[in-house]
């Protein structure tokens, strides 16, 4: 019994509960008790961070962390920490903490905060559940819960636009969920419980089942591709931009989009195994879809005037780098894709925080209104600049590391066409980010901002809004500059790649 209840068996569950329990309590709070609510939020976020730190250390030392609950005979809910899940858990935990601070500031006086933060915590719990899912069933369960938990966040504002955006979001994700479910059950009926195992579990399947395995992969890809916003399944993402800024940040950097991309990585590496997937020709399908999405997203981003919409299309494009990395057979490309999971997250969340700050402080929602914002809000714009340059892939920011490894990996695998995609994408990225930076820094500010709020105090905006983007921008720089340091995202991605390809 002591063996069963040892701390290694409890830790993954505890990480999940550290946001679930505060979330449940927050629902019950009275609307005006915002100190207690903030306390619960922050306590949950910090406890989770501490627990995750313990987990990182344990996994690094090769420990096995697994919480297993039997729902019904043959149906186990498994939370299992391997190197890949630790990467994603860490990302979501760190960014949740930052986003919580931001959200507390952002929603200071808006209605329905108990509901908002309740679902916010639920959303993070679901993401952590996805990250730690140890088998396909658990993954599907948390993947669907994530859909449920994000719907209220997207619809939160209650405007007709918000309701419409939420409806479109739901239509896409529910349909995707059904596809994922069919794929998962189909696979389960062929193989028995599908545990995630490094280097996959399917390569031993008889050749007669290969057509079925390909069909299953397509179902899974559609299900995951919806959330990962793969073209042509991305339609919901620009629509859900109506959500409050912290939600958009979370959706794009951590939760929904990332969950889809993470799922693709899981399926390719830990269900099929990357070599077996390549053998079945699945990587080609994935690579083509990812490439089209990268180019398409960037082109669409060029045409958007709304700042958040431009960022949304940029997400469509950038997240597909992860899928692209997974679609190239070779450890270096794997590292590139994996590390981009983290890098895209910290860069994109910075950009969304900044966009939120412009909107909250100045009422600036459009690129065309951004003339001279750099002078009015230098810190925010500095953070924005770091994020944008990182997205383009300028050294020494994190984004450069991702693109470098993706390019090297493509060369290593002999897939030179990927370089073309990368180059085109980089040009397009520059095309839609540089004009913003130019306007922000070098144009004169207008006489009057569309809707300016003055927050007293020393800074250009409220502290709770300012610090999160500055912190994440700093993280972008650190992740790039210290890429070779121990426990950096790059090091960790290398560890994963080593485990995925070891003989």
């Amino acid at each position: 019994m002591s063996q069963l209840l040892s701390w290694t068996a409890l830790l993954p569950g505890a990480i999940l509960l550290s946001s679930l329990i505060p979330g449940a309590l927050i629902f019950l709070l009275k609307e005006e008790s915002h100190i207690l609510r903030s306390l619960l939020n922050m306590a949950g976020a910090i406890i989770k961070l501490i627990l995750v730190a313990v987990l990182i250390w344990g996994v690094y030392l090769g420990g096995v962390f697994e919480t297993r609950i039997t729902i019904a005979p043959g149906l186990d809910l498994v939370l299992h920490a391997d190197a890949l899940s630790v990467l994603f858990v860490t990302l979501s935990t760190v960014l949740w903490l930052v986003t919580t601070i931001y959200a507390i500031g952002y929603l200071e006086h808006s209605p329905n905060r108990s509901r908002f933060f309740g679902f916010f915590s639920l959303c993070v719990s679901a993401t952590v559940g996805i990250a730690l899912a140890g088998n396909l069933l658990t993954f599907v369960i948390f993947y669907e819960i994530l859909t449920l938990a994000t719907y209220p966040l997207v619809a939160h504002r209650g405007t007709p636009d918000a309701t419409r955006g939420a409806k479109i979001y739901l239509a896409y994700t529910m349909a995707g969920g059904v596809a994922l479910l069919i794929g998962a059950v189909w696979l389960r009926s062929l193989t028995g419980p599908v545990d995630f195992v490094e280097r996959g579990v399917l390569s031993a399947m008889p050749a007669s089942l290969h057509p079925q395995l390909i069909a299953i992969f397509l179902f899974l890809l559609v299900g995951l591709g919806v959330k990962a916003a793969l073209f042509p399944l991305h339609g919901w993402l620009p629509q859900s931009m109506v959500a409050p800024a912290p939600v958009s940040s979370l959706l794009h950097a951590v939760a929904v989009v990332k969950a889809g991309a993470f799922g693709i990585v899981r399926v390719v590496y830990d269900v099929y195994g990357v070599e077996f997937a390549s053998e079945l020709g699945l990587l080609t399908i994935l690579g083509v879809m990812a490439s089209i999405t990268i180019v398409y997203g960037s082109v669409m981003a060029l045409t958007q005037d709304g700042l958040k919409k431009r960022l949304a299309y940029s997400t469509v494009s950038q997240v597909s780098y992860i899928a692209l990395g997974a679609s190239i057979l070779g450890p270096i490309a794997t590292i590139g894709g994996m590390v981009h999971l983290v890098h895209q997250g910290i860069m994109k969340i910075t950009l969304f925080f900044c966009a939120g700050n412009y909107a909250e402080t100045l009422g600036v929602h459009k690129v065309s209104q951004m003339d001279g914002v750099g002078r009015r809000m230098p810190w925010t714009t500095m953070a924005f600049t770091v994020g944008a340059l990182g997205m383009i892939g300028i050294p020494p920011i994190a984004g450069f590391v991702s693109k470098w490894y993706l390019g090297l990996g493509a060369v290593d695998a002999g897939q030179y066409w990927v370089l073309v995609i990368l180059a085109a994408s980089t040009l397009l990225n520059a095309g839609y980010f540089l004009p913003i930076l130019y306007k922000a820094w070098f144009r004169d500010p207008p006489d009057e901002w569309p809707k300016e709020h003055l927050f007293g105090g020393r800074f250009e905006t409220m502290g709770a809004l300012l610090w999160p983007p500055v912190i994440t921008a700093a993280l972008c720089l650190i992740a790039g500059l210290l890429a070779a340091a121990p426990f950096s995202p790059l090091e960790w991605a290398t560890l994963i790649a080593r485990r995925e390809y070891a003989p």
């Binding site: 629902f27 019950l28 709070l29 009275k30 609307e31 005006e32 297993r68 609950i69 039997t70 729902i71 019904a72 005979p73 043959g74 149906l75 186990d76 809910l77 209605p111 329905n112 108990s114 509901r115 069933l137 599907v140 369960i141 948390f142 669907e144 819960i145 859909t147 449920l148 719907y151 209220p152 619809a155 939160h156 504002r157 209650g158 405007t159 918000a162 309701t163 939420a166 409806k167 739901l170 529910m174 349909a175 969920g177 059904v178 479910l181 069919i182 059950v185 189909w186 389960r188 009926s189 062929l190 419980p193």
Partner: protein, 483 residues
Amino acid sequence: MISNSLVLPIALPLLGALLVVALPRKMPILGALAALATTGSGLWVTAQTWLQADLGVVLGGWGLPLGIGLAADGLSAAFLAMSSLVGLGTSIYAIGYFAGSERCNHFWPLWFLLWASLNGVFLAADLFNLYVMLELLGLSAAALGALTGSRAAVEANLRYLLVGLLGSITYLLGVALLYAGYGTLDIGLLSERIQPSPLAAGALVLMVVGLALKAALFPMHFWLPPAHANAPAPVSAVLSALVVKTAFYLILRLWLDLFPAELSNAAAAFVLGVLGAGAVLWGSWRALRAERLKLLAAYSTVAQIGYLFLFFPLIQATPAGIARDDLIAACVLMALTHGFAKAGFFLAAGLVQQKAGHDRIDALGGTAQSMPATTFSIALAGSALIGLPPSGSFIAKWVMMRGAFEAGQWWWLIIISTGTLLAAAYIFRVLSRAFGQEPTPQCFLTDARAEIPALLLAFASVALLGLAAGPVWSLLGFQGAPA
């Protein structure tokens, strides 16, 4: 002692009914006590069945075949537990719901009679006794349904009563034929004696058709939506959650325990499956088009009953063993989940209706937003109706889809997927109303006594049955596959 405990879930609510009829002034307190006693006895029987073994007793001391048997195996115990818990939740809710209303006087006695008959059906082992139980069920249910007194309610429940009578008389004809052929009414004895023959086939068809009519299996569902939608909320809850389940339970019981495999064959199972598929599609579609919240819930019941019948072709096609056990357990799990979820849904809908004064979905926005706990109950119950994780119906659908793949009957997947998406559409059509720009509610609970039962029932369908479905397996005596 054990024999006595088997009688209690029927005798106690009956006693409760008598007391509240004779002493109308003491009604709510007597009602609460009797409800507690009934729930306790039901759970006691369930626990005994789970911990020890199947229970059985022949009343009157004459033994079989002369006396009437009562029996509790895992299947009965599972449904009994549902009727006990849902019944308790509904009773507590009803105290508040009917407070100060004259309808209170009529609700309690009829509800206890209904509850006695529910438990009676789940524990009965005698075909004719089942007929009497079904009639008690049908009469008290129709009377309860008409309690609102509105013309629509009276008309709908009159139709419900007639349909119920038609169903049970058809069932009784089947029983009469079986008695003619085999000279006993006990299910256990009959299953030993019964042979594949025209007689048995005829009886099977008559009994199943009669019961399917009472279970509102498509296309025999026409009576259900108006009857369930126009009843008072606690009554709608028990009608949808429990009453239609009795007929389904009996079909399952006859299918598994009584009729020889030559008769409950692939063709028969396929027919049931096709009707179930029709129910899933048609019920979900009508729910999507429904203008009123309670009508939506009622059509959703039609669809959910359809899912239960989709299990029959799969169970039939799967050879005895772990996979078949899994399917049977999943089928029961689905029925239980729907019981809890739909009860929670209707109770919450009743609160919305009371507050808003109507239940037109298009105009519910403000009310839904001002009652967070109630809306939350609807959301929880709704996700169980859609079959989203972590609800019990998600687990059930997972097993059902796996069964469909393993049996090679992939076409049911199309039905299941379409039904799931339609269900998501109609549930979120309601939930989206809760996100408006009305003033913020100050507190989660606005009326604890009425909201907590609804919330707990809905929560049970999600967390309890979804994350701890194992007891359903062990209650049914299935080992299941090692993980």
